[in-house]
């Protein structure tokens, strides 16, 4: 009955939910993501839509708060009757919505929720949770592998945000792989979300004299900490993850991050990426953040699933998503049956050269 009602009501639109932070300290990413969704939906609709219908996004703010996320999920599935949900952009909000999704039988494609437990808990895959990004262990391992094998680093230091799940996850897996490869972690220093001064930690790192410093946190803090590191006379190579790439980083710390390496989800030299980036910049007069690229691929996954399912039915879409095998702008996306992760997605190693993100090579962790 649910489906019938929906059909009579909205003959020609397919409602897709979006959730993420429009306020709070993650708002930069959330707002960009929602804007990107709107833009991409417009494009798709201009080209005739999907299954002959137009796509419509209903987006709500989660503040990055788990409680709010649950409310939003209930609202989207219960009240707005969306066929699938895009987002959210943090693991802490993606994990608690699974029971809601399961009850409503609506699939969710998370954009940058990298915690493995978003899709799998206790070895069991959650039927309605998907994602387009690769996961923390993978990213951490890639970074460590690259540091040890390609940069020939022996000693590494880690600076991380103890109160952030992403940061804690990546540093954990970086450490694990790096030590396995025979390297040594000479310093592991923490700070707390909201901190702006990292010199005490960096001074300590400096005296440990590492070859590389792994800094898995968002670019604002990267900019601050790398500037401070250089100020203190630290010359080690800096490394980071997919939270680094942003025009902002260059404005804020161009010299400090020169020569650093990043494990990224996207190859910025790809032509498709350029189109999207420019279109966004033109439309919103802002630079696109990483979320924009990932949500683009999430939408591709969704559209592909809808087309294969042949109708905009939430359960059928969820089924179809399980057999996704496409190539998005962030790489190959083949959904793993037991993980719901994009398997075999290669990471792009990017180096900062003269204030540009220069693609180096594709790299996958040989675990």
């Amino acid at each position: 009955s649910k489906n019938e009602k929906e059909k009579t009501e909205n003959e020609n639109v397919i409602k897709v939910g979006w959730m993420g932070s429009l306020t709070g300290d993650q708002a930069v990413w959330g707002q960009c993501e929602l804007n990107a969704v709107k833009m991409i939906f417009d494009d798709i609709n201009k080209k005739g839509g999907v299954l002959g219908k137009k796509l419509e996004v209903i987006g709500y703010d989660t503040k990055g708060d788990a409680q709010e996320a649950v409310n939003v999920a209930k609202r989207l599935t219960g009240q707005d009757k969306v066929v699938a949900i895009l987002g959210p952009n943090t693991s802490g909000t993606a994990i608690p919505i699974s029971p809601v999704l399961e009850q409503a039988k609506v699939a969710d494609i998370a954009t940058v929720a990298t915690n493995p437990k978003v899709t799998v808990v206790d070895g069991k895959v959650k039927p309605y949770n998907f994602r387009v990004c690769f996961i923390d262990p993978y990213q951490g391992a890639v970074a460590a592998g690259f540091a040890a094998d390609e940069l020939k680093a022996k000693n590494a230091a880690i600076l991380y945000d103890v109160s952030d799940d992403y940061s804690q996850g990546l540093s954990e897996f970086f450490e694990e792989t790096f030590v396995k490869k025979g390297g040594k972690i000479v310093a592991k220093e923490a700070f707390k979300t909201g901190d702006v001064d990292f010199r005490p930690q960096l001074s300590k790192i400096k005296s440990a004299n590492p070859d590389v410093i792994f800094m898995p946190f968002v670019y604002k803090e990267v900019a601050l900490s790398s500037n401070q590191a250089r100020e203190l006379g630290i010359t080690a190579t800096l490394m980071g993850g997919d939270t680094w790439p942003s025009e902002q980083l260059i404005t804020m710390a161009k010299d400090a991050v020169e020569g650093s390496y990043i494990v990224n989800q996207v190859n910025y030299d790809d032509p498709d990426v350029q189109d999207l980036k420019n279109e966004y910049k033109e439309k919103y007069n802002k630079n696109m953040e990483i979320n924009g690229y990932l949500v683009h691929d999430a939408i591709m996954m969704l559209v592909d699933a809808m087309e294969r399912a042949g109708e905009a039915d939430s359960e059928k879409i969820a089924k179809a998503l399980e057999t996704t095998d496409i190539v998005g702008i962030t790489g190959k996306i083949k959904v793993g049956k037991d993980t719901h992760n994009p398997e075999g997605k290669e990471a792009a190693i990017v180096k900062l050269v003269n204030g540009e993100y220069v693609f180096q090579k594709k790299y996958s962790a040989a675990q």
Partner: protein, 298 residues
């Protein structure tokens, strides 16, 4: 409106209400202002989840353990901080709340900052409702007893309370313990509703929200706490359509209520049969209210 969605809001209101009730005892009735109650929620949440997940206990006994552990921790904190006055106590509790979060961020046994997923979904509207009714019943009984009145006396005038034989420290501690226990149980409910716990959920912002609710509802009024919780949990949901403007309105609403109704919604009043009677008789007479533009002389 979809029932499923409304049910969700009600459950969350109920969970918040449980903490707010406790906080109302501490802030509204005993006059102590806490910025750390999210910390007690966190303790209760993790303790409850530990009992159900790691030791396989049934939900209700586990919840009691959650409440108990928060209360036990509150004894330690109380011993150290209850003699502090006003803002000093407030900052000390803020420190406590942040400290709890910081410790949990580092305890890998509970998943650290990355959180603890896979907690069974035991919380539902029925048990939240029943627990809240019990909570209100117990609290209302407490307030109407010498215990509650002693706390109110302490709020009004500490030195005078001492000289009428009230052991101020003891009653403050009792108040803190009970309020911590309520928060602990709320934390347990929350963990088993979200099926996930993460230290981030129990941030300073959460503590702040709770305190705002208590004062918004009206100090020293249980009905005010209930009403305040319902309104302030529902308000952001109603404003959801305004996306990024919604917290702007929320902030504005808080200010407007505070300056137009400085007693909070229900300051000092309760919904009881007798007060309702009084209220109606007053509405009848309320027509002419002479000037109120004075600044108090004494």
């Amino acid at each position: 409106m979809d029932m499923y969605y409304i049910e969700g809001i009600l459950i969350l209101s109920g969970i918040n209400l449980m903490t707010v009730l406790g906080l109302s005892l501490l802030t509204g009735f005993t006059g102590m202002f806490s910025f750390g109650h999210a910390g007690f929620m966190a303790i209760g949440g993790y303790a409850t989840a530990m009992m159900t997940v790691k030791y396989g206990w049934p939900f209700i006994p586990a919840l009691l353990i959650g409440g108990l552990s928060a209360a036990v921790v509150s004894i330690f904190i109380g011993r150290l901080t209850l003699n502090l006055k006003g803002d000093y106590f407030c900052i000390a509790t803020l420190g406590f709340g942040e400290a709890v979060r910081l410790i949990l961020d580092n305890v890998q046994y509970f998943g650290g900052a990355r959180g603890w997923p896979g907690i069974p979904n035991y919380t539902n509207l029925t048990n939240v409702l029943v627990i809240n009714i019990i909570g209100i019943f117990l609290l209302a009984n407490l307030i109407r007893s010498k215990y509650g009145r002693n706390m109110i006396a302490i709020r009004e005038e500490e030195l005078a309370s001492q000289t009428v034989g009230i052991n101020v420290f003891k009653y403050k501690l009792i108040s803190l313990m009970i309020s911590a226990a309520y928060a602990g149980i709320a934390g347990g409910l929350m963990g088993h509703y979200m099926t996930f716990l993460q230290p981030k959920m129990f941030s300073l912002v959460k503590s702040t929200e709770l305190t705002i609710i208590v004062i918004f509802g009206g100090l020293g009024s249980i009905s005010g706490s209930v009403l305040g919780t319902l309104i302030l949990t529902a308000l952001p949901e109603i404003l959801r359509a305004f996306s990024s403007w919604r917290l702007v309105f929320y902030g504005l609403a808080v200010i407007v209520i505070m300056i137009t109704r400085p007693e909070g919604l229900m300051g000092g009043y309760e919904f009881t049969p007798s007060s309702m009677k009084k209220l109606f008789s007053r509405i009848g007479k309320h027509k002419k209210n002479p000037a109120e533009d004075t600044e108090g002389g004494k």
